[in-house]
Symmetry: C2
Subunit: 433 residues, 2 copies
């Protein structure tokens, strides 16, 4: 047994926690166990009108093409950002098969230790580990996640520097996964000012920006324009996780030009480019055609309505939670029930998640996977797989004036409420796997 797990080979989680739970649920269902799947951040909606025709029309494009993307795709993305208050030229854009490879390439290209909000999406820390980079966590506030508490960030940076760390890159998520919240503009501004003072660069992951429940999110690029890279993609707003379309906007600055050269170099060695037919889809979508804009707006309304209903179930069970503001996530904290849970041996988020799955048939992720200490009784709850299993159900959910009244959603919500009450009461559950 040689060459596995030695000193050069990297140490990574067996699998991204978010994708692993999805496979675990599929296995449970194959075995006949009813499972309410709140574990996986897939948008759970059908392909928007028109996109399949665009993909089909571009299918004869089989050349590699430019690493960063075709000129038309880059211009479309530039227009998309420009219409969203970040004036952008096509040369600032780079595409990739999803935003994950872009985030990885950015971490590889940028110098210094990686500062992450705590909690933060699972893959940032895992990618830093792949690059053998140190991670410095900075806690979020009680109001919103994705952006550290400014005072705690300042404190973490000072402590880290004293400790011999060399903070270099700050990753923000606006709107946030796992908390489903949007950091207030004033907080983003303060955090950018701190980043500027400490010479940090910023990666601002804005893949949920189109899915604000009310209003819109403000990019860190508004406050530290010359050193903020924005990443995004079509996996969430258009539910195209299975089509793998991501893009990044680099700054229009000398620093940005140098970063782009590096990023393109890394991209050319790691993935060559985004699949050409998918670039045609991106060109179309990022032009903001009316039927796409309407589809995204309907999706955001549905996410808002169902996330609010799921939030109400947690609140009714006496679980602490930030009210959802964007996307399709909640990050409940069972601290108010810590004592009664501890009496039943549940003292960590993995134990809590395991109990919910094994005894209550509800799949969620433990906060530990997002960087929280394991003793925090936090969970990441995804609400988007409640919309239905068939395309018909999902279209009905999108079109419904009151989606939570649809029988399959109403039933799932009732089941969730019942099981949450059983969990926090410690009563015998009605569920029998």
């Amino acid at each position: 047994m040689t060459n596995l797990g030695g000193s050069d080979a990297v140490s990574v989680p067996a699998q991204s926690a978010t994708l692993a739970i999805d496979e675990a649920v599929r296995a449970r269902r194959r075995a006949g166990h009813r499972t309410l799947h709140l574990g996986f951040g897939e948008a759970g909606l059908p392909v928007a009108p028109g996109l399949i025709d665009v993909l089909t029309a571009a299918a004869q494009r089989n050349s590699y093409g430019p690493v960063a993307g075709t000129e038309e795709a880059r211009e479309a993305a530039a227009g998309w950002f420009t219409r969203r208050d970040l004036v952008t030229g096509g040369e600032q854009i780079i595409f990739a098969p999803g935003s994950k490879p872009l985030l990885f390439a950015l971490l590889a290209a940028l110098d210094g230790d990686v500062v992450l909000p705590r909690p933060a999406w699972v893959s940032y820390a895992a990618q830093a580990a792949l690059l053998r980079r140190r991670v410095l966590p900075a806690p979020i506030t009680d109001a919103a996640g994705g952006v550290p508490d400014p005072a705690l960030l300042e404190q973490a940076l000072r402590a880290a520097t004293t400790d011999g760390a060399r903070p270099g890159v700050l990753v923000l998520t606006i709107p946030d996964n796992p908390t489903g919240t949007v950091a207030p503009v004033e907080q983003v501004r303060q955090v950018c000012a701190i980043a500027e003072r400490h010479g940090l660069s910023i990666i601002c992951d804005e893949i949920y920006a189109e899915l604000c429940h009310h209003g819109s999110a403000t990019s860190a690029a508004s406050f530290l324009p010359e050193r903020t890279v924005v990443t995004s993609g079509l996996s969430k707003s258009l539910a195209l996780g299975g089509w793998r379309i991501g893009y990044a906007r680099t700054p229009d600055s000398e620093w940005g030009r140098r970063l782009r050269a590096k990023l393109t170099g890394i991209a050319s060695e790691l993935w060559s480019g985004l699949a050409a037919p998918m670039q045609a889809v991106a060109t179309h979508v990022l032009g903001d055609p009316a039927e796409v804009v309407d589809h995204v707006a309907a999706s955001a309304r549905l996410h808002a309505r169902v996330a609010a209903a799921v939030y109400a179930e947690f609140a009714a069970a006496g679980v602490r939670c930030r009210p959802p503001q964007a996307g399709f996530y909640l990050y409940p904290d069972f601290a108010p029930h810590a004592e009664s849970l501890a009496a039943r041996g549940i003292t960590t988020s993995p134990a809590l998640a395991r109990t919910l799955l094994d005894r209550h048939g509800i799949a969620v992720l433990p906060g530990q996977a997002f960087g929280d200490s394991s003793s925090a009784l936090t969970l990441r709850v995804a609400t988007s797989l409640l919309y239905g299993v068939t395309a018909e159900e999902r279209w009905a959910a999108l079109d419904a004036a009151e989606p939570v009244a649809l029988p399959w959603i109403a039933e799932a919500l009732a089941y969730l409420g019942e099981q949450l009450r059983a969990l926090v009461d410690g009563s015998v559950t009605v569920y029998n796997p």
Copy 2:
């Protein structure tokens, strides 16, 4: 100017040499300079019959799905390998958006310094650099590339070990890029025995395996089955570089099972999975339907015929070259003309490639990009972009009994021969950019 090029950020080439030359040629052509493009390893052929229908039919698949690929795609790949004398189960397969991310993930997952043939395809060493891994070169033979000379490999491993290196992974390319040759079976067997004795694992890149001009290539997995990973993809055999479909076959061994868990973990953090509609294409193609098999066979015949004709032009100009045996590459060595080239100040492969581009309008890559010392007067010549510019020309090339008689190919060959003679004679060229 912070956070770029410091000690954590990786150092990589500005861009993969192969993709960079492609962009340079496009820029030259936009500027109106005639350019014979022999620089880029794109198969240069149209999409095979039936594939666009498969892609279209699968376009509604927008879910992420399993990281390694759907069960049907993995079973199809397993059948494909099994029919090619490597008995394989679906659980041994992992898909990715191209074979580049797979090669990178394999290097990340496997331990030890990376042993490469010299010359070798550009991205292996660049990927090793991204992972801060040491590269140990081992020269190829005069007969074929992609696999080191066994005696020189043994010698390189001993010297490296004495030198404090810790060889761990051997990368082979069968058939080879850049030399367009197929290592003899006996040499592969010997090299695998050396790898086994030294405890190395093997990554065997077989992306050109379907494009042997005569006969077939033998995988290293035949000789070191329990520790050889095979990578492949549809970019070359089916000219689908722009669709980004790659896959790997891990060993059916305890080592293979542990590697797969690691590889899936890395894949889940770096790219999530191959685009779902592309997995449907892979499922179809890897089932070996007759029209796909015929298309690949016609492609291999065309590659063989044109590579042989280009080889003849180099031979006629007194340039040393291994006769092509697979794919669409040649690796000529201008050593016989070293003296006359030196008299004109051309003493390195980059200077030679630059002269060919600037003074003769011929784009090729310097051997230095493939790990050769810069003083070796070697070039990597790709022959596949000679088939035509339009889909009509490319279909005509595929269908022609004698493709080199087609006017656009005949003219390009004549131009190449004329310019090569001008270069080696030092005479004034007829080309005026």
